[in-house]
């Protein structure tokens, strides 16, 4: 890792159990400013649990979670609100407000967190919806949207207040190849524009490697990495090697596979 970059989020020896089930057993991880860190791992290994710790939705049994240098366990509600005001989150199930239409969903952060008037809200919402290719969908409710459209609305909402850190929990789960690529393109484009730090939880390997600066594997309740995608794929760590072999096959060459996939970037 490049030491000169600011550490935005740091997990230090985090332990978490649910009942008798130990999910995190001494997990440590640093997220650097302006980078994209991908956390991979098999289902049920605790990827989303790590994300929820970073968001302050779960508290560790022991260990520390520091965001912008502040220990979340020591933060009161007002501090948490202040920290979270720099966050954008795309949930795995998107968590759109199902009784609100697309426009109101995307407008909510502006209406609740800023003093913008309705005219300013409209301009900002229309701009974000246009960026996501969602023009003309303002009046639809989440139940009337396809999976890919929901993800785009979720992304528009997450990026509404130009966050410093954006969390993506399985951003392409349940989407076909084209829709997944569309989400990746939007991610790439918006990160170029807004220069946010991204934390992505995904099992869409190897595609997700192309977008990442660092990859970390969670297996057996422990974190392995983060490493650059190239080093990760060639790692000697038996757990990482097993994961790479299992998800990418014994031989993987990014030059020959999917070479045209991200041309539009």
């Amino acid at each position: 890792m490049k030491p000169e970059k600011e550490i935005v989020i740091e997990l230090e020896d985090v332990h978490k159990s649910f009942g008798s089930q130990k999910v995190l057993d001494g997990v440590s991880l640093k997220i650097l400013a302006g980078t994209t860190t991908v956390i991979v791992g098999a289902s049920g290994q605790g990827k989303s649990v790590i994300l929820k710790h970073m968001l302050g939705l779960l508290k560790p049994d022991s260990g520390q979670v520091r965001v912008f240098g502040r220990d979340l366990a020591q933060c009161n509600k007002a501090d948490m609100r202040q920290i979270r005001s720099s966050f954008g989150v795309l949930f795995q199930n998107i968590a759109l407000f199902d009784s609100m239409n697309v426009y109101d969903n995307v407008a909510l952060p502006l209406r609740e967190r800023t003093r913008s008037n309705e005219k300013q809200v409209r301009v900002a919402v229309e701009e974000k919806l246009a960026l996501m290719g969602l023009e003309g969908q303002e009046d639809k409710f989440p139940a009337q949207l396809s999976g890919g459209m929901k993800k785009r609305v979720g992304l528009a909402r997450a990026l509404m207040l130009d966050p410093k850190v954006v969390f993506f929990d399985e951003p392409t789960t349940g989407l076909d190849v084209n829709k997944s690529n569309e989400i990746y393109r939007l991610f790439y484009r918006t990160q170029q524009q807004l220069n946010y730090t991204a934390v992505i939880v995904s099992h869409d390997v190897p595609k997700i490697f192309k977008l990442s600066d660092y990859v970390a594997l969670i297996a057996n309740s422990r974190m392995h990495g983060p490493l650059s995608p190239e080093v990760f794929q060639l790692s000697d760590n038996p757990l990482i090697r097993d994961f790479v072999l299992e998800t990418m096959g014994p031989i993987y060459s990014s030059e020959t596979e999917e070479s045209l996939l991200y041309e539009t970037f």
Binding site: L55, G56, Q82, F87, F91, S99
Partner: protein, 250 residues
């Protein structure tokens, strides 16, 4: 231990909601929307229940008072029963069934589908955004609904007493005028206020803490089970507090 934790959580929920309500900036539109939902949309059920409760009181009151030759007190008996007791209690039970269940289900589904987590992650206080408008709306709506219930009930008693049994209209209203005192109205008002608070407090707290239910509160069944529990608990709380308020104010 679970019960201590649960009641402690319930108390903290109310405190947090009240603080959220008092903290500026104040937004009026969400409160008006909730008044429309809790108050205006409950009008039909309140009018029907009030009318038939008043008619039954007229019927039973006439039957009983006639035995003692004092049908002149029919108006007073109907009005006092409604204002002090039946108006607040029955209106509260109807609103719990209609709006309380809906509030619990709405908040519970939002909890289950991570919409409340999404609010927190967007640095939007769910108590302020979600619960406080409902609380204020219930405190405004419930006394008004009880007033409507009482008036319609008195009219129901009038229909039966005056038009069915030929009690004089003057005697019906004069008896009411002479015997209904300010303390009766005061008790009715305090009860409606307390019941409105109980309804929205218990319904929204059960939905809000759905994920902490002992049986999990997962999925559609979890929401339906919790909604049922909320309705039962709120209804029982209304009856318990009805006794307590009556005992304190008498």
């Amino acid at each position: 231990m679970y019960f201590f934790a649960w009641y402690g959580r319930l108390g903290l929920f109310l405190l947090t909601s009240v603080f959220a309500l008092l903290r500026p900036p104040y937004k009026i539109m969400p409160v008006i929307r909730q008044i429309h939902f809790i108050g205006a949309n409950s009008l039909y059920v309140i009018v029907f229940t009030g009318l038939f409760t008043g008619m039954v009181l007229g019927l039973q009151g006439y039957y009983t008072l006639n035995k003692f030759g004092s049908i002149g007190f029919l108006g007073a008996a109907v009005a006092i029963s409604l204002i002090r007791e039946l108006g607040p209690v029955l209106a509260a039970l109807m609103v719990i069934g209609r709006a309380g269940s809906a509030i619990c289900a709405e908040v519970g589904i939002m909890r289950n589908s991570e919409q409340i987590d999404a609010l927190e992650c967007m640095a939007i206080d769910p108590f302020r955004y979600l619960i406080a408008p409902k609380l204020l709306a219930a405190l405004i709506s419930m006394p008004l609904l009880v007033c409507i219930f009482d008036v319609v009930g008195i009219f129901g008693g009038y229909l039966v007493g005056v038009h069915l049994f030929d009690v004089g209209a003057g005697a019906y209203f004069q008896g009411m005028y002479q015997n209904v005192v300010w303390q009766d109205l005061e008790m009715g008002f305090v009860k409606s206020f307390v019941f409105g608070l109980l309804m929205v407090w218990i319904s929204s707290a059960r939905g809000f803490y759905l994920h902490l239910e002992r049986d999990g509160g997962f999925g559609a069944q979890g929401v339906s089970r919790t909604t049922t529990k909320a309705v039962v608990m709120a209804s029982v709380a209304v009856l318990v507090w009805d006794y307590l308020v009556s005992a304190i104010m008498l």
